[in-house]
């Protein structure tokens, strides 16, 4: 099966095929035999790729697979052929920076703007607190505040929409 993999913005085409109990993985001229040992289904695997041993923790979030290897964290977006073509046609949604989301899970300590306010790039919009650290979230685009979805004291999760700018 062919996968399109994006690592740090670079695009690679990788082929994964079953072979004698393991898998053959290929990228261009490069080809390896990978034996996959399951340590904890969905979380932990022991790979032996050719002779190389790789102990791996895995995180999956949508199309993104993050590899945790020897203390390093390596995220990659992995798409099937169909998803890759669909994305190429569609392009990236141009939502831009007008939707301001919570950049971490935490408590909204203060909202510093109101609907109708004119903001510039860098204007502090709201203050999030998590683990006793305050984070000022700033506008990344200039415009007028269209709506605010939360009030001070609310708990938000990473990615929740907090402010919309027009």
């Amino acid at each position: 099966m062919k996968y399109h993999v994006l690592v740090d913005g670079e695009h690679y085409e990788v082929e994964v095929l079953r072979e004698s109990g393991g898998f053959r993985i290929s990228l261009g001229d490069e080809s390896h035999y990978a034996d996959v040992g399951t340590l904890r289904d969905g979380y932990a695997y022991s790979l032996v790729i050719d002779d190389r041993s790789v102990d791996i923790g895995v995180e999956e979030r949508g199309d993104t697979v993050s590899l945790l290897i020897a203390g390093g964290r390596y995220p990659a977006e992995v798409l099937g052929e169909r998803e890759w073509i669909a994305r190429s046609i569609q392009g990236t949604a141009a939502e831009g920076d007008m939707t301001v989301r919570a950049n971490m899970t935490g408590i909204v300590r203060e909202v510093l703007v109101q609907p109708g306010d004119v903001v510039e790039i860098g204007t502090t919009l709201f203050i999030l607190e998590a683990m006793k650290m305050e984070n000022e979230v700033k506008a990344e685009a200039a415009g007028t505040v269209a709506s605010i979805s939360v009030t001070a004291g609310a708990t938000v999760s990473v990615g929740d929409v907090v402010v919309e700018i027009e």
Binding site: V7, V14, V16, G42, I49, G57, A76, N103, R109, K132
Partner: protein
């Protein structure tokens, strides 16, 4: 028996996470029963499971649980605990709490309320230290409340200056101001942060030393008038005023400097009749001149590197002193062996602005083997919430030399795997191999000055490796859910497919 001789049989630990567990371990070794307190978020936490008894305090937010001194004292009474160990943070430097504990006839394992107050108000402490002839950083002698004063004092000290919370600690409520234009806004924010964190919005100004080193000295006093120091800890590897890596000995400190800093620290402790474990924090400038910054009137996070190099269990000493026993060793009996380093594992994305990270721990592998200690409250299935400190684990190593200790720490870090929560592990790994760290010539600005520490692009070869393995793992993960479109995937039984449901985070 003097009135300082007290019997301890059961210790309530008014804390959570790794430090609560660490304190309980020594209590257990000394034959004391232990009592844990917990918030609803910590019902299954390691410190609850390690304790002999466990009492619920309240909901997750600290104001409703771990900061509720009244509930803690109630729990101690209910379980018959005759001593309370505060750990660090939370109620550990709250003089009022200490008074309530003592009033309830319970032994507080730490300094007296008076000592905490003497050092807790940073401004008053500065005054006392100046009187005791301990060198302090130039700054204001009083809290600065009005804007005119703020401006004129900042001019007098000379920019850059630091705005610090009078009741602060742990790097919270600190703002650096480089010019007059930033001053008032920064002061306002510092006051509001201080009010939220410490319930006290007083701030003061201090000279901002350019590229200082942050070196602290562990001291210990008993109720018989003995005070000793246990050497220094080098704590200059920091991110945003939070320590990240500490080591002992400091690569900067030689025997003469150690003796001078130790003597200053002992003098500072003696000036206030200090009893139990305390730490004098010093700023050291480019000329190797040192200035006392503040005293932390409690056990420090980084105490293990002192333990590893002296063989002393500091919590054991705390418990002995709290019972009125004399310090087990005199100054000249305290010896230092080898080199120790501590790396703090934080739940934060160091590569993206040090944003705090939350989540559920999926897979967890911790380091072990010779010369490695890991103090942590982590376990598989644990929820990392936004309510508490982001420190998840302390990895501590010991080896005969600094080079061997660094190599051991690199090895130990390579054994760590945590999924489900983003950590600063990549920063730790990069820092250890960075020439600035390896050479020992670093300061509190080093992490900020080297952006490669908080994000290094992968080599083409590494990217290709990641692409190959990521595709393989995606294939394996998706196939087991039956999402693959190849016929071979049909071998996945329907039960197998059913067993995996969206949201199955564990």
């Amino acid at each position: 028996m003097t009135d300082t001789a007290r019997t301890i049989t059961k210790v309530l630990v008014a804390n959570r996470g790794e430090i609560a567990l660490r304190v309980m371990r020594t209590c257990q070794e000394m034959g004391f029963k232990t009592v844990a307190v917990y918030s609803d978020a910590d019902r299954n936490a390691l410190h609850v499971r390690a304790a002999y008894e466990a009492v619920r305090l309240g909901p997750a937010p600290v104001g409703e649980s771990y900061l509720r001194g009244d509930l803690v004292i109630e729990a101690a009474k209910r379980t018959g605990a005759d001593a309370i160990h505060p750990g660090f943070g939370f109620l550990s430097e709250n003089a009022e709490f200490v008074r309530q504990v003592e009033a309830a006839g319970i032994t507080f394992i730490g300094p007296s309320a008076d000592s905490i107050e003497a050092m807790g108000d940073k401004i008053a402490a500065r005054r006392r230290m100046i009187a005791a002839d301990v060198p302090v950083v130039p700054g204001t002698a009083d809290p600065v409340t009005d804007d005119d004063n703020l401006r004129s004092e900042a001019e007098r000290i000379g920019y850059p200056v630091m705005i610090k919370a009078s009741a602060g600690g742990g790097g919270k409520g600190i703002r650096i101001v480089r010019n007059a234009g930033e001053l008032l806004a920064a002061a306002a924010r510092a006051r509001s942060e201080a009010a939220a964190a410490f319930g006290n919005d007083a701030v003061y100004l201090e000279k901002f030393l350019s590229e200082p080193r942050h070196i602290e000295v562990q001291i210990f006093g008993d109720t018989h008038g003995n005070v000793v120091h246990l050497g220094e800890r080098e704590c200059s590897i920091q991110r945003r005023h939070q320590k990240v890596i500490e080591e002992r000995p400091s690569p900067l400190v030689d025997d003469a400097m150690r003796a001078a800093m130790g003597a200053a620290a002992v003098k500072a402790a003696q000036a206030i009749g200090y009893v139990n474990a305390g730490t004098l924090e010093f700023m050291v400038d480019a000329n190797r001149d040192f200035y006392m910054l503040e005293m932390n009137t409690r056990l420090q996070v980084e105490h293990p590197i002192t333990e590893m190099t002296t063989g002393i269990d500091l919590v054991r000493w705390q418990l002995l002193v709290a019972q009125g026993r004399p310090l087990p060793l005199s100054q000249d009996q305290i010896r230092f062996e080898g080199h120790s380093i501590e790396a703090r594992l934080y739940a934060e994305d160091a590569d993206h602005g040090f944003l705090p990270a939350t989540g559920t721990v999926g897979r967890l592998e911790l380091p072990g083997g010779p010369g490695v200690r890991c103090d942590t409250g982590l376990f598989e299935g644990m929820e990392v919430t936004p309510y508490y400190d982001p420190m998840l684990a302390k990895i501590i190593v010991h080896a005969p030399t600094r080079d061997e200790a660094i190599d051991r720490m690199r090895r130990a870090l390579s054994e760590v795997t945590i999924t489900g929560v983003t950590t600063n592990l990549p920063l730790l790994r990069r820092t250890l191999v960075h020439p600035a760290f390896r050479s020992g010539r670093y300061d509190t600005g080093t992490i900020a000055a080297h952006p490669e520490l908080t994000g290094t692009p992968l080599s083409e070869n590494r990217r290709r490796n990641v692409a190959l393995i990521a595709a393989l793992m995606a294939h394996v993960l998706r196939r087991r859910r039956g999402f693959a479109d190849r016929p071979s995937a049909a071998s996945a039984s329907s039960a197998w497919v059913d067993a995996f449901r969206p949201g199955d985070a564990r």
